[in-house]
């Protein structure tokens, strides 16, 4: 790993130059939150650094909500995604297991993945529902991204992990000899540790990922019925979840197919010919999402199917809080 520090002003200038060869996305603050924007010169000064998750999960860069998967049209201009928190990078590794499996690697997903450089960010503050540490995920960038990035004391510190990361640094014209001062790294370390402690403190009492599976699989029907009674099957929890990636293929004339993101929270997801539907009852669908994330996917895949990003809690119009559910289950 290579570490580089450059002054923020210079970083901004170099980003401007990069725009001619890369499509660059980064979170920009809006009235209520921050979300990814395709950068132009103007937007560069509005990028937010060191903040927890943008509204849009990272998955949407690789799995658009709707796309024609029978025509070849993946753009070839390289993409750089700046400011992704580690929880979302871990979610992407989870999706890689499904979309880049040995048997049927997905062509569009694979091309986009190849084409993108990921610059993760260290979270140096927390949001109300963040609970990554409860699930063993650190709130700072690591070698799962190409570069991790933090802005402190007007210096951008870049830790370069991969070949792709090196190429990106080269394209920016940054000299790898610009090693950060030790005092700066110590300060960063201190901030990182502080955030970790805040997260642990806030989520005290929340069962960890080793316990969640057992709790979900042994929970009795009444608890699912109780929580599901506030659910309206809108599917927002899945749409916004960085690891939910189920879809439906929709046929169009000319033997074309549209892949549209779907969710087990919608009626009919498992309906078979003749009308049988194992997930007909809303409480069954509600329970299914938990079984999927905490019981079945962990039996099948190595990466975690819930990163503790908290988006599903923030988005739910029924104000269903899965952490409250887990605390109730563990009591």
């Amino acid at each position: 790993m290579n570490r580089v520090a450059i002054p923020k002003r210079e970083w901004d200038e170099r980003l401007i130059h990069l725009l001619s060869s890369f499509d660059v996305f980064a979170p920009v603050e809006n009235e209520f939150s921050s979300d990814y924007l395709k950068l132009d010169e103007e937007a560069i000064s509005h990028i937010v650094y060191n903040k927890p998750k943008p509204v849009t999960p990272l998955k949407n860069f690789f799995l658009p909500v709707k796309e024609n998967v029978t025509i070849e049209g993946i753009p070839t201009k390289p993409v750089a995604i700046i400011g992704t928190p580690n929880c979302d990078v871990m979610a992407l590794l989870f999706l890689d297991q499904i979309y880049l499996d040995n048997e049927y690697p997905d062509p569009a997903y694979g091309k986009r993945r190849e084409n993108s450089t990921l610059l993760s960010t260290d979270c140096l503050s927390i949001q109300e529902h963040c609970h990554c540490t409860s699930y063993g995920i650190e709130p700072k960038g690591n070698e799962s991204s190409d570069i991790s990035l933090a802005l402190i004391e007007d210096q951008v510190i870049l830790s370069v992990f991969s070949k792709k990361g090196e190429k990106f640094i080269e394209a920016m014209g940054i000299y790898v000899t610009l090693t950060p001062e030790k005092s700066l790294l110590d300060r960063l370390h201190e901030l990182q540790e502080n955030v970790k402690e805040q997260l642990l403190e806030r989520n005290k009492g929340l069962p960890d990922y080793k316990q969640t599976g057992k709790l979900v699989s042994t929970a009795a029907d009444p608890i699912w019925e109780k929580y599901a009674s506030d659910c309206v099957s809108c599917g927002a929890c899945s749409a916004i979840c960085p690891t939910c990636s189920c879809f439906l293929l929709i046929d169009k004339p000319g033997f074309e197919k549209i892949r549209q993101l779907d969710t087990c929270q919608y009626p009919g997801f498992e309906r078979v010919a003749g009308g049988e539907d194992a997930l007909h009852a809303l409480s069954e669908r509600f329970r299914n999402r938990y079984m999927c994330k905490y019981v079945w996917k962990p039996q099948k895949y190595e990466q975690k199917a819930c990163t503790g990003c908290g988006r599903c809690i923030e988005t739910c119009i029924g104000q269903i809080n899965k952490n409250e559910l887990f605390i109730e289950l563990s009591n």
Partner: protein
């Protein structure tokens, strides 16, 4: 063989013949633009242009790659439309997908096959394959049930099977007519008649969920070990590629980890009989 390079793009195929099997079941003979091979028990996704897609297990011989057949029960949106199609029309196919029957496990065994309704389609492809390897098998007993004599599919083929050494066919219907001379009752009644050397036998079950359930329970009662009972599972499916999540059955994705499983593999998973 993978479909056309792009996993989602169907291979165009011409419908050259439609065979009426019963009032609700037709067999469609397709000639794909390129050779297309599959292993018995694997399935394909059939696209009706602009309308939809549905999974079917080919009913033709897996030893043939220039044409293939699917036997389809009319039951809803896509299948109703298929039943209106005529020779010369085009369909799309993707696949083959999933794990089929592990035929090497059948060697030196007596094979008991329990099928009902449209479950006969995949079984026919299996039977073609078993005939080809008959010298390696002890015997094959097919127990096949349908609602009425009219619903019995592949009538000429049944006679052919009965004339094949080592193969035996027992049939039952729920509602007989005056010409029916074979058994009456649900398909499991046939199991009272079979004589199998169970310690040297494997069983295959394929059919509607209720039949699969009661068939399997009866086989367990007869003493078949859980890992010698092969089931072909049916779930809602979209991609066939282990990605869309529709066919999830507990820790399995039926399209990729199945559709053929042993009872032992699936018995602890949820909703196995729907």
């Amino acid at each position: 063989m993978k479909t056309n390079g792009n996993l989602y793009k169907p291979l165009k195929s011409e419908l050259i013949k439609v065979i009426d099997e019963s009032p609700l079941i037709k067999t469609f003979v397709l000639v794909p633009e390129q050779d297309f091979s599959f292993a018995t028990g694997q399935f394909i996704e059939v696209t009706i242009d602009g309308m939809g897609e549905a999974p079917f297990t080919p009913s033709s011989s897996p030893l043939k790659s220039d044409q293939l057949e699917v036997t389809v029960m009319k039951t809803g949106y896509v299948t109703d439309h298929m039943h209106t199609m005529k020779p010369g029309d085009k369909m799309g196919i993707r696949g083959p997908f999933g794990r089929g029957y592990p035929l090497e496990n059948f060697h030196d065994k007596e094979v008991l096959i329990l099928g009902g309704g449209c479950g006969f389609a995949p079984i026919r492809s299996l039977l073609y394959n078993l005939i080809a390897i008959a010298d390696k098998l002890r015997k094959v007993t097919l127990c096949y049930g349908s609602k009425t004599p009219e619903d019995c599919v592949y009538k000429p083929y049944i006679q052919e099977l009965r004339d094949t050494p080592k193969f035996e066919v027992l049939r039952s219907v729920d509602q007989p007519d005056e010409n029916w001379t074979e058994r009456v009752g649900v398909v499991t009644v046939l199991l009272d008649e079979v004589t199998m050397d169970i310690s040297n036998s494997i069983a295959v079950v394929c059919g509607p969920p209720v039949m699969m359930k009661f068939g399997t329970l009866r086989l367990l009662e007869m003493g078949y070990p859980e890992n010698d009972i092969y089931l072909s599972m049916e779930k809602n499916m979209s991609c066939g590629l282990g990605k869309c999540g529709h066919c999830m059955m507990g820790k399995y994705l039926v399209c990729k980890d199945g559709p053929v499983f042993t009872y032992d593999e699936v018995k602890d998973q949820p909703h196995i009989w729907n």
